[in-house]
Amino acid sequence: MPDDALGRPYQVPVKREPLLPNGVMGMLIFVATEVMFFSGLISAFVIGKSNAIGGWPPPGQPRLPVEETAFNTAALLASGVCLYFANRAFREGAARAKGLLLASILLGGFFVLFQGAEWVALVREGLTLTSGQLGGFFYLIVGTHALHVVAGFAILLYTYNKLAHGDLSRFTFWPAQIFWYFVVGVWPVLYWLVYL
């Protein structure tokens, strides 16, 4: 083995890959706090719902659009599936990653717009934040989720911009995916609890 200038045996520095990239670690901790936050909201809703006198949904309140939202739920789930395949294509270096990521973003945007339209219709029917327990819980829980979808939408747009310019690393793409999978994964639970 060759020696260095001081006569010590030369050692090849080995750079080990980190166990978990910082961005992924940070996002996982953030998502864990978000899971607890949504669990708190869900718990408050479940207790409030079980305490309602006269059944749930409370009488005299507008009905929530179950079928339309089921369609919207499918769009959000499809967005998650597109992101999964975009990641696979990205790892293989395939050009279709861009198209799949764009499809995921567009489906996420569709979900937000559809929900906005749904909210306008509900407000017109008289369901507001202060109209009762149903309105209060509905806008708090679904609104908080919608805020997360908007944030995730912005993160995916940023990711797409990096991918389009050819400087997207997997350490940037991975945290973005974790956040979007959380947003997609928590929605069916909220739909089942709030709408059904």
Partner: protein, 82 residues
């Protein structure tokens, strides 16, 4: 004085409105959500540590070295010493 205050003034605190609810469904919902909020963080932290340990063990495995076919062809058993 403290003992007098505790003995004469203090009463059972009803801090949990659901615990004394006459509705069985409400009491059950309180128990269910308490279980959820107690165990969910423990499951998440435990699952994360388990996953990290597994990943660390995988990284510690020595990498397999690819041996060319031409070298493998030349390998013969050693002759027995007499």
């Amino acid at each position: 004085m403290g003992a007098v205050a505790v003995g004469s003034v203090a009463d059972l605190a009803r801090a949990c409105p659901s615990c004394a609810s006459p509705l069985e469904e409400n009491r059950q919902a309180f128990v269910d959500t308490t279980i959820l909020l107690t165990f969910l963080p423990l499951i998440m932290i435990g699952g994360f540590i388990w996953w990290l340990r597994r990943k660390a063990q995988q990284l510690e495995q020595p990498p397999e070295i690819a041996v060319p076919e031409t070298l493998l062809r030349d390998i013969r058993p050693l002759p027995k010493e007499r």
